[in-house]
């Protein structure tokens, strides 16, 4: 044993020979900020998801029919794009501390349009029920956000704009258990916090901020973009221009229209997302979900969306009705009401005028509806007693001054009428939009922001584009968007007819209108508008 023990130190010495310090060398440093404070960037530099050269990106898009279509609208990429994944601190709908994630897209390459200090586009995505929505994930075409990620990258980043696109609190890796949907205060804070975090990251990911800030977004994102412009303006922060696209800006007017029977496509999804959002923020919408929802849907609906299950799964499981928001049996007027009230309720269940939209509205009614007649009636009685200035008839154009129904109060709180942007704005949409009605949103805002309205914007600052309209003249700056939209709309109808549709493809156009037909053209029109603002040095 003597030998063995005597050898032990030698063995130990040998073991240590040639062993420098152990441990892990990350080949660089990452700063971690777990404070969770508003606008804090959790990991700096943020994760680079991938880096596509301009030609890689073009090749990737060229590999699919959708991608080819996108290239045709957005143009050939001039820049490569580095996709980064940012994780930032923000707040929820009740001001509670939480976190969000999103994309930071940085143009790369040698083209003059891609180098040096670049303008930032702060982009707000549209409504999604997919909890895993991650607009930074350009690598996974099965992610629900892939299409929007590619669109934004092609329209903006590949043309030289830095893009900041939050997924919003409540999505992807956010700890928030719900999404503060169309909560103007929260969503503008979420956007501003993502922007702050992205600006912190930029020096570490090879991006330089030119100081020019553009804000855009589609659908829900149109509302978010406008709310964010308003919030930054109120904070005295610089906004170069904004382009809200197809958004429900006059939210209270839109929802009043829906309750009056003009049920929009997608209403059975929007209703629970809105109701949950406002219940979390204000706490006074209901005591029990059955106060609003029919018993077939009331259980668990407050935690249903966003979901890890696909929408089709939720529909097939009966968690939500496909389109029936309201009962096809009219609500019963309260005892003692004038006879005219019951007649009105009958006439809007469902409405039969205007004839062109009657089939769309009829879809919103059924025998197994989402919302109870009691809830609809309470809403309508308040809408009649304290009418919106734009629905059902135009008076002031502004929200009701003192709604008493708590739902209507919540919609008024998040309605974007009543302010005036001091920087250029483009509002884009399509007048046939079956989901976010053009007339009570884009048209209404445009009217409020034009002389002789007291809220009129400065001369030349307001631009409005209806992609579903005729080219006005040879110098129409939006001719390409209008022609492109008309072509896609026609080919969508033709494809439906070829597949056996007997309605001339009208139904297929309605289904595709808001989610597929309008977005690329309005998004690329927004880019053109931003480039024009830059070129004009506005």
């Amino acid at each position: 044993m003597r030998h063995f023990i005597g050898l032990a130190p030698i063995v130990a010495a040998l073991l240590l020979a040639g062993c420098g310090g152990g441990g892990s060398d990350t080949g660089g440093s990452t700063t971690t900020d777990n404070s969770g404070g508003r606008g804090s960037l959790q990991y700096n530099p943020p994760l680079r998801v991938t880096g596509l050269s301009a030609s890689d990106f073009q090749a990737q898009l060229s590999a699919s029919t959708t991608g080819k279509g996108l290239l045709a609208v957005a143009g050939t990429p001039k820049c490569g794009v580095n996709f980064h994944y940012i994780q930032y601190g923000t707040v929820g709908g009740a001001g509670e501390a939480t976190n969000g994630t999103g994309a930071l897209m940085v143009p790369t390459g040698t083209d003059a349009a891609c180098t040096g200090a670049r303008p930032i586009v702060l982009y707000a995505h549209g409504t999604t029920t997919a909890k895993a929505y991650n607009i930074a994930n350009i690598l996974d075409s099965s992610n629900d956000a892939y299409g929007e990620s590619a669109l934004v990258a092609a329209a903006f980043a590949a043309q030289g704009f830095i893009v900041v696109a939050p997924n919003y609190a409540g999505y992807d890796a956010s700890k928030l258990s719900y999404h503060p949907y169309l909560n103007a205060d929260q969503e503008s804070k979420d956007m501003i916090d993502a922007l702050t975090a992205a600006r912190t990251a930029l020096p570490n990911v090879g991006g330089t901020d030119s100081g020019k800030l553009f804000i855009t977004g589609y659908s829900q994102g149109g509302h978010v973009a406008m709310a964010t412009h308003r919030a930054l303006q109120a904070l005295g922060k610089s906004v170069t221009a904004s382009a809200p696209l197809s958004g429900p800006y006059a939210l209270a007017a839109l929802v009043d229209a829906v309750y009056y029977g003009n049920v929009n496509l997608g209403s059975t999804i929007f209703t629970p997302m809105l109701t949950t959002s406002y219940q979390k923020a204000y706490g006074n919408l209901y005591n029990s979900t059955t106060d609003i929802y029919s018993s077939n849907f009331a259980t668990g609906i407050d935690t249903l969306l966003p979901s890890t299950s696909s929408l089709s799964t939720l529909l097939s499981q009966g968690k939500l009705p496909q389109t029936a928001l309201f009962s096809s049996t009219p609500p019963t007027a309260p005892a003692g009401s004038p006879a005219a009230l019951q007649a009105t309720l009958n006439a809007i269940t469902p409405p039969t005028t205007p004839a062109a939209q009657a089939p769309l509205f009829a879809l919103g009614f059924g025998s197994n509806p989402l919302v109870t007649n009691n809830a609809r009636l309470a809403f309508l009685l308040d809408a009649m007693a304290n009418p919106d200035g734009a629905v059902p008839t135009t008076t002031t154009g502004l929200p009701a001054s003192a709604p008493s129904n708590t739902l209507r109060q919540a919609f008024k709180t998040n309605d974007l009428r009543g302010w005036t942007p001091t920087r250029p704005v483009l509002m884009c949409g399509g007048n046939g939009d079956p989901t976010v009605f053009y007339s009570v949103n884009t048209q209404l805002m445009a009217k409020l922001w034009s002389a002789p309205s007291p809220l009129a914007m400065g001369t030349g600052l307001l631009n409005v584009l209806d992609v579903d309209s005729a080219v006005t003249s040879a110098s129409d700056p939006f001719a390409a968007a209008k022609v492109g939209f008309a072509t896609l709309k026609a080919s969508t109808a033709a494809a439906a007819v070829a597949a056996g549709a007997t309605d001339g493809g009208a139904s297929a156009v309605v289904q595709a209108y808001h989610g597929s037909l309008v977005p690329p053209f309005c998004t690329v029109a927004a880019r053109g508008f931003f480039q024009q603002v830059l070129a004009a040095g506005l």
């Binding site: 073991l15 990350t26 530099p45």
Partner: protein, 235 residues
């Protein structure tokens, strides 16, 4: 270095402590050259921004040579206990990307590139049994034992950081497993001998690569072939 208590190691303890001292010259130190062929097979990585269920992103651990040394103690004419070690070798880790899954521009930039380096420290205790007569110069032997592998030093290369998306922390879990060897000993004289062996061990680890909070994980199984040539000195 913290060794966890292991039942297999305990099983060898009586051998280490209680061996016979009947032989005058019962200690052997061997020093030589060893080549470690890890023959790794790694699962597809899982984690953020990787496709499911198969990401097509994996790796290979490359071969490495190093200085070998061991200490052995004779228990009797046929049995010895050997503690085998070496200067811990640092292996290159190469990206292994499935072109059917991973986009072409990523494959062309990273396929086969060294994305990380890992240093492994792998002491192994063998119980060796020698065949033939103790007086013969040439004696084959077989050994079974226990291997402990610790990946004590890991570094991500700049290419690895580029593939992973930023500075990357790499961790690999320790491995305990059975080991075996076969070899041949040639006795030059009472003091000196030459010794050649082929050894293997069961080594399994889980690699976690963390980049800006995103942890990507893969399981790696090694089917190592360790070729060793040594000179032994008996005392």
């Amino acid at each position: 270095m913290t060794f966890r208590l292991n039942p297999l190691a305990l099983a060898f303890a009586p051998l280490l402590l209680g061996g016979t001292t009947a032989w005058a010259q019962d200690n052997i130190v061997r020093v030589g050259y060893t080549q470690v062929q890890p023959n790794s097979s790694a699962s597809d990585a899982t984690g953020p921004f990787l496709l499911q269920p198969n990401s097509g992103v994996s790796l290979t651990v490359k071969d490495q040579s190093t200085l070998f040394f061991s200490y052995a103690r004779k228990l009797d004419d046929r049995l010895e206990v050997e503690l085998a070690m070496g200067v811990p070798p640092t292996h290159d880790i190469a990206a292994k990307l499935n072109p059917a899954i991973v986009p072409g521009y990523i494959v062309s930039a990273y396929q086969g590139q060294t994305i990380a380096k890992i240093r492994q420290f792998a002491p192994t205790v063998f119980l060796n049994y020698s065949f033939g007569d103790s007086s013969s110069a040439l004696r084959p032997f077989v050994g079974v034992g226990v291997n402990y592998t610790k990946f004590d030093k890991r570094s991500s290369t700049s290419i690895g950081n580029s593939l992973n998306g930023g500075p990357t922390d790499i961790q690999l879990s320790d491995s305990w497993g059975l080991a075996a060897q076969v070899g041949l000993e040639y006795r030059i004289n009472d003091k000196w001998s030459l010794h050649g062996s082929v050894a293997t061990a069961r080594v399994k680890t889980t690699l976690t690569a963390t980049t800006a909070g995103a942890a990507r994980v893969m399981d790696i199984t090694f089917h190592p072939v360790v070729l060793t040539m040594t000179a032994g000195y008996r005392f």
